[in-house]
């Protein structure tokens, strides 16, 4: 008994259980450090996401507003309709240069009327604060409505890209000194016009509906053709990918015997999903354009290439959805006398539909954002004409949203960076809508067996 107690005394722990010893403290510190690394990694990833979005939105939101000049223009008959016929066919002979003169005169009048005095401002400079696109706008309006001739009408005309940049903070007095395209005098004029209420920033619907514009007129560039092209391509994908993808996954999941051939198909699909997208572009160029002779830059080719790319991304989730339907459903259908085909099409497929649909929408969203393969099939071309109505329109040249972004990044004028970021915001808006739809579908209809 005494032995025991002395032993217990002798073996007394050097430290209390409650106070951690040096080694434990070291281990606990290591534990905390490790945990902090993990949290740090998550935070870094989220910060990267935040930075990406801030950069895009910071650069791009201003594309949705545009500086416009409210200019009272006197439409002189002597210039636009010398013969006084009011016949649009005859008036078409007057080019935009003639209308440019009207704008110049209107600008000079306005400056005189408002008593704006700016040193070193020539009439030509004064005219140049209006976009070069404005003359064409004016011409279209007058041709559409010859009654305007002889009247003084106030038009909302686009301001030049540099003037627009001045009001968006891209151009400053100092940078204007160095810039051959804009002078400080012009900026002073713009300020003066703004004070008098002739110049304001308004919502820019044209950015979404107008076609692309040339290098010198970033202010007029819009996404109309690109959005239409993307919609057409999605139409082709939507028409082809779901039936083929679902049919393939039904076969592989429900009917295929386990043999070398089906194994080959499966490995193939898994690999196709990971093939770099640009390789699909090469395929499209070689097969659809060079071999089958389809036109370049056409949404049909883009749609076909994107369909081939989307297929594995549709098949893989569709198979998972089919697999998730419990065998008891199939057994019950077979038990009451349905054929295998009936059990699949009448029972399994409807139950798997939400899962299949979710995968489909996500696949479509990926296809919508794909750029590289479209570059190779000629979608980078400068297209100003809207494609026609489907299905003939599918063969007309068009652009696509992501390709338009790429196209704008290749231009010299910094105003196109704003345009490109704005286009990305539009693209992201589409993607958010599609993905939200997928999430809602999953939340509402997904069944857990």
């Amino acid at each position: 008994m005494t032995d025991l107690s002395t032993n217990a005394n002798a073996g007394q722990p050097k430290a209390s259980l409650l106070a951690a010893d040096a080694r434990t403290m070291r281990r606990n510190k290591a534990e905390a450090r490790f945990r902090a690394y993990g949290l740090g990694a998550v935070i870094v990833a989220l910060l990267a996401l935040a930075m990406l979005l801030i950069s895009i939105f910071g650069n791009g939101l201003s594309a949705f507003t545009q500086t416009r000049v409210h200019l009272p223009v006197t439409i002189a008959e002597a210039i636009v309709d010398k013969k006084g016929t009011r016949d649009p066919e005859v008036m078409k002979k007057v080019t935009t240069i003639g209308y440019g003169k009207l704008i110049k005169a209107a600008m000079v009048d306005l400056i005189a009327k408002e008593g704006i005095v700016i040193e070193g401002l020539s009439d030509k400079d004064a005219e140049a604060i209006i976009s070069k696109e404005a003359a064409a706008t004016l011409r279209d309006e007058v041709l559409a409505n010859p009654d305007l001739i002889g009247q003084t009408v106030t038009f909302d005309l686009l301001a030049n890209g540099r003037i627009d940049g001045y009001f968006k903070g891209r151009v400053s007095m100092e940078s204007a000194e160095l810039d051959s395209n804009v002078s400080p005098a012009q900026l002073h004029l713009a300020d003066a016009l703004k004070d008098k209420g002739y110049l304001s920033k308004t919502f820019n619907l044209d950015f979404i509906t107008a076609p692309d514009a040339s290098d010198q007129r970033p202010e007029a560039a819009g996404l109309g053709v690109a959005i239409l092209g993307s919609v057409y391509m999605m139409l082709v994908v939507l028409l082809l990918a779901p039936p083929i993808g679902v049919a393939a996954s039904i076969y592989l999941e429900e009917f295929a015997p386990k043999n070398k051939f089906t194994d080959l198909i499966e490995v193939n699909i898994a690999n196709l999903a990971a093939v770099p997208s640009i390789v699909f572009g090469i395929l499209g160029l070689a097969i659809f354009i060079n071999f089958a002779g389809l036109p370049q830059s056409a949404p049909i080719v883009g749609g076909l290439v994107l369909t081939l790319m989307t297929l594995p991304r549709v098949i893989i989730p569709a198979r998972a959805a089919l697999k998730a339907v419990p065998p008891s459903i199939r057994d019950a259908a077979l038990g009451v006398g349905a054929s295998k085909m009936q059990s699949v099409f009448h029972h399994v497929l409807p139950l798997a539909a939400p899962g299949i649909l979710t995968g489909l929408i996500i696949g479509l969203a990926q296809a919508l954002g794909e750029t590289a393969p479209l570059l190779l099939i000629g979608m980078v071309a400068f297209v100003r004409e809207y494609p026609g109505a489907p299905f003939d329109g599918l063969f007309d040249p068009a652009s696509a949203l992501p390709v338009q972004v790429y196209n704008w990044t290749q231009r010299a004028d910094p105003a196109f960076v704003e345009r490109a970021s704005g286009a990305i915001i539009v693209l992201l808006a589409f993607l958010v809508v599609m993905n939200t739809l997928a999430i809602i579908l999953r939340r509402r209809f997904e069944r857990r067996w």
Binding site: E31, I56, Y251, V275, A286, A372, L375, Y406
Partner: protein, 486 residues
């Protein structure tokens, strides 16, 4: 008859097949469906199927083969004398095709009557002027023979189309008759329809194989053409890349491969630690609430189109790296650099690493962790010494998949890495990759006889083989690992 019209006729016949098949079946049993083997609808579908399927199949095959067949038969008519100095057979053929297309369009919009198009040889220049006025250029130096060939081309196409239309409609009619006549109460219509349906399903799953075959063959074919004109040793082992569209280019792949691998390495150096630690934190430490917010947010990174990352590299990251690192350190003056592209690509592949690793870490059995905790190990010790070693093969697979993604990525490097092919160690220099050069050699004016264009196919094939190898390796590793704990 155009393809669309033929399609319409076939579809109408198929609809008729449905109606007649169903009606005949019902009439044969005097309206009592109980005496039929299958539901009445199946007799209808059987009729529609036999009418449409064979006919449409032939039509699709014809539409695919038509360009090749006609090209070949017209191509044989090109004599050596017709090929001008410095030109080639394929150039003459492309002229022929262009002229034929111009004629077609002129006939289509009514500028030319069909017989005028045939008699073009007499007044070639006059007609050419009329076509040019309409924006259809057929070239001023087109010799008469080319025009003759173009006419032959048009005739063959037209004749082929008519024959095809005839055959397709006949086939549809035959199928229609066969199916309707075969209808009887004992006929197993359901089995027949299901057989047809199954065939269709198989056909759809074979498309995946056809795609791969298409990729491989289209690239193999053009690559073979390329190696006829350019030595393969110089392509694979050459260290200068300077394409020159007047010929005599150096097309060595090594600088491109170096740029590709260097950028991917930097991307992996960014993505693997961040992705791995994020996955560990998510699966081992995070509360369910934190996890349910942070995990989808990280996965958003994977859903963002690559062009967005490209713009981010070009507009934000590139200038930032240049102004704060490269210029002060005297390492470079360029906004687009290996570092820019690598960094942004790293951000892009974080979610690939993190969600795959997350799945794999979650698949490690809880009993292993419990055993380690029972011995008194802390969480981090358990993770480092038990969980990670157990999950290692799977994590390696995930990293390989991420690497293959990085190697094949295009838009980020097109916008962020630059276009200069060089082999350098300085990460702040602009370099270029295989994908960038595929894009630059295949966009704009391309001449599919020149090695400068064809090299893109050889690069594409190299890229395909490289990524395929990585993918297969990764899949094998991941699959092996999964089996281990199942």
């Amino acid at each position: 008859m155009t393809a669309a019209n033929v399609l319409l006729v076939v579809l109408i016949l198929a609809a008729l097949g449905y109606i007649l098949g169903r009606r005949r079946a019902l009439r044969l049993v005097k309206g009592d469906p109980r005496k039929l083997h299958s539901l009445p609808g199946y007799y209808g579908w059987n009729g529609a199927m036999f009418t449409a399927l064979p006919a449409l199949f032939v039509m699709v095959v014809w539409l695919f083969l038509r360009p090749v067949l006609i090209e070949r038969s017209v191509g044989e008519m090109v004599s050596d004398a017709m090929i001008p100095e410095g030109s080639s057979h394929s150039l003459v053929m492309s002229d022929v095709r262009r002229v034929a297309e111009g004629l077609d369009r002129a006939v289509a919009n009514g500028t030319l009557r069909a017989d005028e198009a045939d008699a073009l040889v007499d007044g070639l220049s006059a007609v050419r002027d009329r076509l040019t006025a309409l924006g259809i250029a057929i070239g001023s130096n087109v010799p008469e023979e080319t025009t003759t060939l173009a006419q032959a081309f048009r005739h063959k196409t037209a004749a082929g189309n008519t024959t095809m239309a005839g055959i397709v409609v006949l086939l549809a009619l035959a199928g229609f008759g066969y199916a309707v006549l075969r209808t009887s109460p004992e006929f197993r219509a359901r089995n027949s329809v299901e057989q047809g349906l199954k065939l269709l399903l198989i056909l759809c799953s074979v498309i995946a194989i056809a795609t791969t075959a298409g990729i491989v063959f289209s690239m193999l074919f053009e690559t073979a053409n390329f190696f006829k004109q350019y030595s393969w040793t110089e392509f694979f082992f050459g260290t200068t890349w300077s394409p020159n569209f007047r010929g005599n280019s150096d097309l060595g792949m090594l600088p491109l491969l170096w740029g590709t691998l260097y950028i991917s390495l930097i991307a992996l150096l960014v993505a693997v630690p961040i992705g791995l630690f994020a996955a560990i934190y998510m699966s081992e430490y995070a509360s369910p609430k934190f996890r349910s917010v942070a995990k989808p947010l990280i996965e958003v990174l994977a859903g963002i189109p690559t062009i967005v990352y490209g713009l981010f590299a070009l507009v934000t990251v590139g200038p930032m790296l240049r102004d704060y690192f490269a210029q002060p350190l005297g390492l470079g003056e360029s906004g687009s650099s290996v570092m820019t592209a690598g960094l942004v690509m790293g951000i892009m592949i974080i979610p690939f690493v993190s969600s795959l690793s997350d799945d794999i870490i979650n698949a490690v059995p809880q009993s292993l962790r419990d055993g380690s905790f029972g011995l008194g190990a802390t969480s981090s010790e358990t993770i480092r010494q038990v969980v990670i070693p157990a999950a290692l093969p799977g994590i390696v697979g995930a990293v390989l998949l991420a690497a293959s993604r990085a190697i094949g990525e295009t838009m980020i490097v097109v916008l962020g890495a630059g276009a200069a092919a060089r082999m350098d160690l300085n990460p702040f220099e602009a370099m270029t990759t295989i994908t960038v050069k595929i894009v630059s050699q295949l966009t704009g004016d391309t001449d599919f006889a020149a090695p400068e264009t064809l090299v893109a196919f050889a690069l594409g094939l190299t890229l395909f083989v490289l990524t395929l190898g990585l993918n297969v390796l990764a899949l094998v590793i991941v699959r092996k690992y999964r089996e281990q704990y199942e």
